[in-house]
């Protein structure tokens, strides 16, 4: 009987080896270990054996059983592994195929520039104020020290809507309006972004509509050196810590002294290149100490208050930052243009 068991064991193991699927393996298990299987049959015949032989045969039967069982498990694992491998193989994809696009729009580059500049000045303790685009002559010119016959009005040919209202030519009227709200009490620290309009024919460098950001800082004892310090801090935040600024005397009716602010060229590092017209410097801001008459007209005492103001062209900043060569791109809204600013 022991021999018979031995033989059954060998047969079963051979069949397990030959099984090529989990299903085939199951039938092997049923065949050999099932209730009607040969091993059960052998055990059933144990009654005819002697007391002495019985444990031996029993032990052998168990051994064979366990061996078959373990081989079955081994083989099952092997087959499952193989099946999984095949499944994974069948499921594989071409990882170079494009993924499903997550639809995203782009911020307009001018908005991006405005918000970046706003954020820098908010960080420096400024607030953002806005004002009307259709302004009165009073705020657009007169309160900024440009009386009706002032020669500087030559510089600004404007779109009038009535004899004394026009599309603002600068965002500076917001300064006058804001100062009035403060009723002569400083400090005033504001930046004013917005659209402005001038009678220019549209071409690569001119636009009848463009954006400006003006800034104003009025307090006791504000000095021209403070203007330099604040604008340098701003320029280094916006253009990079390695940039420096240079002031050049200039003229604006609402500031005295007035300056143009140049930033060192970022392309050539100041050695001179095409971008900076071989000067090493790029003009980025107009600025100056608020004219005493402007302070006075907006309710601040020029004997106790002083301040500085500055203004910059948003398009110019965007053109410098992104290398854009034609101002009209900003208002054409070609999707192929806009689409490039998804990561601003």
């Amino acid at each position: 009987m022991i021999d018979r068991l031995q033989e059954l064991g060998k047969e079963a193991i051979q069949e397990i080896r030959d099984a090529d699927s989990v299903k085939a393996l199951e039938s092997v298990r049923v065949k050999y270990l099932g209730k009607k299987g040969p091993i059960t049959e052998v055990l059933r015949g144990m009654g005819q054996l002697s007391e002495e032989e019985r444990p031996k045969v029993g032990q052998k039967a168990n051994e064979v059983r366990e061996e078959i069982q373990s081989k079955l498990e081994e083989k099952t694992a092997e087959l499952e592994e193989k099946a999984l491998e095949e499944k994974l193989k069948a499921e594989s994809v071409d990882v170079t195929l494009p993924g499903k696009e997550v639809k995203r729009g782009a911020r307009h580059p001018l908005t991006a520039v405005v918000e970046e500049i706003e954020d820098i000045f908010v960080g420096l303790g400024f607030q953002v104020t806005e004002g009307p685009e259709v302004e009165t002559d009073l705020y657009n010119f007169e309160k900024l020290n440009l009386p009706p016959e002032h020669p500087a009005r030559d510089m600004q040919d404007s779109f009038y809507v009535t004899t004394d209202m026009l599309l603002r030519t600068q965002t500076s009227p917001v300064q006058a309006r804001t100062m009035e709200k403060y009723e002569g009490q400083g400090p005033v620290k504001i930046v004013c972004p917005g659209k402005v309009y001038r009678r220019d024919d549209d071409d690569a460098t001119h636009s009848h509509q463009f954006m400006q950001i003006e800034g104003l800082y009025v307090d006791h004892n504000v000095r021209m050196s403070d203007l330099k310090g604040v604008l340098e801090a701003f320029v280094q935040k916006y253009f990079g810590a390695d940039r420096s600024i240079r002031l050049r005397p200039s003229f604006f009716p609402f500031t005295e002294p007035s300056v143009e602010v140049d930033v060192s060229c970022g392309i050539c590092g100041g050695h001179g290149c095409r971008l900076c017209k071989h000067t090493g410097w790029i003009e980025v801001l107009g600025s100056g100490m608020v004219h005493p008459r402007v302070l006075e007209m907006s309710g601040f005492d020029p004997d106790t208050y002083s301040g500085f103001a500055f203004g910059m062209g948003v398009e110019r900043f965007a053109m410098l930052k992104y290398g854009i060569d034609d101002i009209r791109h900003f208002y054409t809204n070609d999707i192929r243009f806009l689409n490039q600013f998804k990561r601003v």
Partner: protein
């Protein structure tokens, strides 16, 4: 202002400084040099040639063959200029010469005749057509007889020079003259200013024997001076004067006119020469013109004047528009022998008005408008007299007939070193400050309060103390101003809640897949009035538009967003999703404004084409009403107003009647969304396009409920799906509202998951399937409780919207 470097050297020693450095110094000092124009860059081998003989070309009627002495040698040169003659001295480019633009002159053969060089016009050596004297405009230039044969023609024409083009700010009219620029350079370099020679002889007669002057308008004409010069011989002015005028951008005409222009450039003092014999009287009267009075100006134009204009008259009729342009009848011409030289100070405002309204801008009017040096008028007149004596054979009569109402004293400004330092944040010493005023030639004396500075008439821009601060800073050097941060109180910087919310709305739309666009605010009359949020009382129109296309302030953002869709479609970009946030402008009835117009902040978008496409997987989604509505619902959620929004079918006549909705925020009209009406799409030549426009100002007035956390459910929810059959006109919104109301607090969520209409239902019916989730966050619901509520929902549906469960 064009400044010849060689000319400038007459008044200030800058020989060692050079052109580039001069330009840099001026710019850094605040007088910006916009550009340098070298006048003869690259020109070589061009000499003064003497035409010994000039014969017809045997083969060509219009050509001549000239024998030209080029200094020690003669050349045969073929020339086509109509004015070439034997005996002339001409600009001759020898073989090997290089002309502007790199043109090389070689020996060549023209119609069988050898030509050893080229006889040039001024234009051919780089002088602008408008600066060439009239008689040489259509031919070659002819030198005066005293030019040296064989000499360097470039030298003769003073073209070895560079012109500095100044971009002057309006506060520096003093630099509209060579002397003014010289004063500036002298201050920057701490050097002397050399004044021109003004000395001349006087004959035995007196100017007052010939002329009297009466000024009726002293407020506009504080000084008028008349000199008389006799026995003038009109001719071409000397080469050097012509050369300098050409460099300054002024065309030479004759010696008298050129001399007045020369002094104009030198002193910035406009002068006018009348032919005294033609003036027709012995008096000058300065007055306002009469309304409707007319005169013919030098340019032969008849001008009709008004009482706003100032004229110089002979006592009867206008002989000049004061400070702007002379009159025709008293013009200096070939036969002029006696000249009345006017040197006056006209106030800016009157000249500006006269110039503007007559449309004449001249070198004179530009300078009077910006303000001349009222204290140097006489010196300029003497200078001109001296030049007329020397170069026009004139005899200057004694004295000047003048009317003088100028203030006797110069303005004075009190300042102090301490105050200047306080304004600038600098630490200049009193000596440094005084030295700066000395260099600027501003007389300054120390007094108890600091420094008293006298302002010469040369610098009308210096008015108050800060003006002196600027002078001190720019002479000291802006680079030496220290860099400090303000010492005042610190203030918090922030964006207002509205500013943050507007940013948030834009940011959301970007994330939702829309590009931000910016369009022009000025639009056409045909665009304004279209696709508005609501009827507006009026428009805002520009009184003098540059074009009709940019004549009216926009009343809606949509017309230009549709233009954007069309622009891109014309470039084969058929998928577009763009939005813009900005102001619309609301005028008054009749489109005339009495106060500033209302500016309303709105948000609009236009979406067309494929919304979503993943091509190789075969997934595509066309933009439809629900795509855009979904974007909007997300936007409302983003700013916390979703629960207060209602969509109601719209009757906006520019929208698709079946695919458009008005949007209400707590019952207030907040905007619309929908497909453009097909006829509007056709008008714009675009395909199916969906739009929305919202009243941002209204949305911002709404305070969203504060955000509080709700317990995350710990107990199981019970879901019941129902398919309802209703009449087709019953809206999903109505059904949903009935369910929500009937479900009460146990009904946690209602989701529409299917809409069906078709053959499986009766005509006129539709099926809506909802999933209802019942939940009590505090405990597990029993089946009975759910059943009770759910049955109530079903009976309410039956009662209120006649909804039955679908079989």
């Amino acid at each position: 202002m064009l400044v010849s470097y060689q000319w400038l050297k007459d008044y200030v020693d800058i020989d060692d400084i050079g052109v580039e450095e001069t330009a840099e110094r001026l710019t850094r000092g605040g007088v910006e040099v916009d550009m340098l124009h070298p006048r003869s860059e690259g020109i070589q081998n061009v000499v003064v040639g003497y035409v010994e003989a000039c014969d017809p070309h045997p083969e060509a009627d219009k050509l001549r063959v000239c024998r030209v002495n080029t200094g020690g040698e003669t050349a045969s040169i073929v020339c086509g200029a109509p004015n070439i003659k034997a005996g002339q001295k001409v600009i001759t480019a020898k073989p090997g010469a290089v002309l502007p633009g790199g043109m090389k002159i070689e020996k060549t053969t023209l119609r069988g005749q050898e030509s050893e060089g080229m006889i040039c016009s001024l234009q051919e050596i780089g002088i602008e057509q408008k600066l060439v004297m009239k008689q040489f405009m259509d031919g070659i230039y002819v030198f005066p007889e005293n030019a040296e044969t064989g000499g360097d023609a470039i030298e003769e024409l003073a073209l070895r020079d560079t012109v500095l083009e100044l971009d002057l700010t309006p506060n520096r009219p003093d630099c509209l003259s060579m002397l003014g620029v010289a004063y500036e350079m002298a201050a920057l370099l701490d050097r002397d200013v050399i004044h021109p020679e003004t000395g001349h002889q006087e004959n035995s007669e007196s100017a007052s024997d010939y002329i009297s002057v009466q000024v009726d308008v002293p407020e506009d004409n504080p000084y008028y001076g008349a000199k008389v010069v006799k026995n003038i011989v009109i001719s071409a002015s000397p080469q050097w004067i012509q050369n300098r005028l050409t460099a300054a951008g002024i065309r030479p005409i004759n010696n008298v006119v050129d001399i007045t222009n020369y002094v104009l450039m030198e002193y910035g003092q406009p002068l006018h020469a009348f032919d005294l014999d033609k003036l027709g009287s012995s008096e000058i009267v300065v007055r306002r013109a009469q309304d409707g009075e007319s005169m013919t100006t030098l340019d032969e134009e008849e001008r009709t004047l008004s009482s706003e204009h100032m004229v110089i008259t002979n006592g009867k009729e206008p002989a000049a528009l004061a400070g702007v342009m002379g009159g025709a009848f008293s013009e200096v011409q070939e036969d002029t022998t006696t000249v009345l030289l006017e040197a006056a100070y006209f106030k800016p405002a009157r000249v500006r008005k006269t110039s503007r309204e007559t449309g004449i801008r001249s070198e004179s009017s530009i300078r009077f408008e910006k303000g001349i040096d009222s204290g140097r008028v006489e010196e300029a007149a003497e200078r001109a007299a001296a030049l007329l004596e020397k170069y026009a054979g004139g005899e200057v009569l004694q004295g000047t007939v003048e009317v003088d109402n100028r203030p006797a004293e110069n303005k004075k400004i009190q300042t102090s070193t301490a105050q200047l330092n306080r304004l600038l944040g600098m630490e200049m010493s009193a000596e440094e400050v005084l030295s700066i005023f000395r260099r600027l030639r501003l007389p300054a004396v120390e007094n108890n309060s600091g420094i008293m500075v006298e302002v010469p008439t040369r610098r009308p821009d210096l008015d108050i103390e800060v003006d002196l601060a600027e002078e001190a800073a720019r002479l000291y050097g802006y680079e030496y101003i220290p860099t400090t941060l303000p010492k005042g109180v610190t203030t918090p910087g922030f964006l207002t809640a509205d500013q943050r919310k507007r940013r948030r709305m834009r940011r959301y739309l970007e994330r939702a897949g829309l590009h931000e666009a910016l369009t022009y605010t000025l639009t056409s009359p045909s665009h304004s009035g279209r696709l508005q949020l609501q009827e507006l009382p009026g428009k805002v129109e520009v009184t003098m538009p540059m074009s009709e296309e940019r004549s009216t302030m926009r009343t809606s953002l949509l017309p230009q967003l549709l233009d954007t869709v069309q622009y891109n479609r014309n470039r084969q970009i058929t998928d577009a999703a763009v939005f813009e946030m900005g102001s619309i402008f609301i005028g008054e009835e009749g489109n005339t404004l009495t106060t500033q117009p209302q500016e309303k902040n709105v948000l609009a978008a236009a979406v067309t084409g494929w919304w979503d496409a993943h091509l190789w997987q075969g997934e595509k989604k066309k933009t439809d009403f629900f795509v855009v509505k979904g974007v909007l619902e997300g936007l409302f959620e983003e700013i916390g107003i979703f629960d207060h929004i209602e969509f109601i079918r719209s009757d906006h006549n520019e929208l698709h009647p079946g695919r458009s909705a008005d949007i209400y925020l707590d019952g207030k009209y907040a905007g619309f969304l929908g497909q453009m009406h097909p006829s509007v799409e056709k008008e714009w030549e675009i395909k199916e396009t969906y739009v929305f426009q919202l009243d941002v100002d209204l949305l911002l007035t709404f305070e969203a409920d504060p955000l509080f956390y709700e317990t995350v459910p710990r107990y199981p929810a019970v879901t019941r799906d129902i398919a309802l059959v209703v009449e087709e006109q019953v809206t999903a919104g109505e059904v949903r509202r009935v369910i929500a109301e009937a479900g009460g607090s146990l009904l946690h969520q209602v989701t529409l998951f299917d809409v069906y209409q078709g053959e499986k239902l009766e005509p006129g019916q539709k099926s809506l399937a909802f999933s209802l989730v019942y939940l009590d966050p505090e405990r597990t619901l029993t089946d009975e409780e759910v059943a009770e509520t759910h049955n109530h929902v079903l009976s309410e549906l039956q009662e209120k919207v006649k909804a039955s469960l679908r079989k």
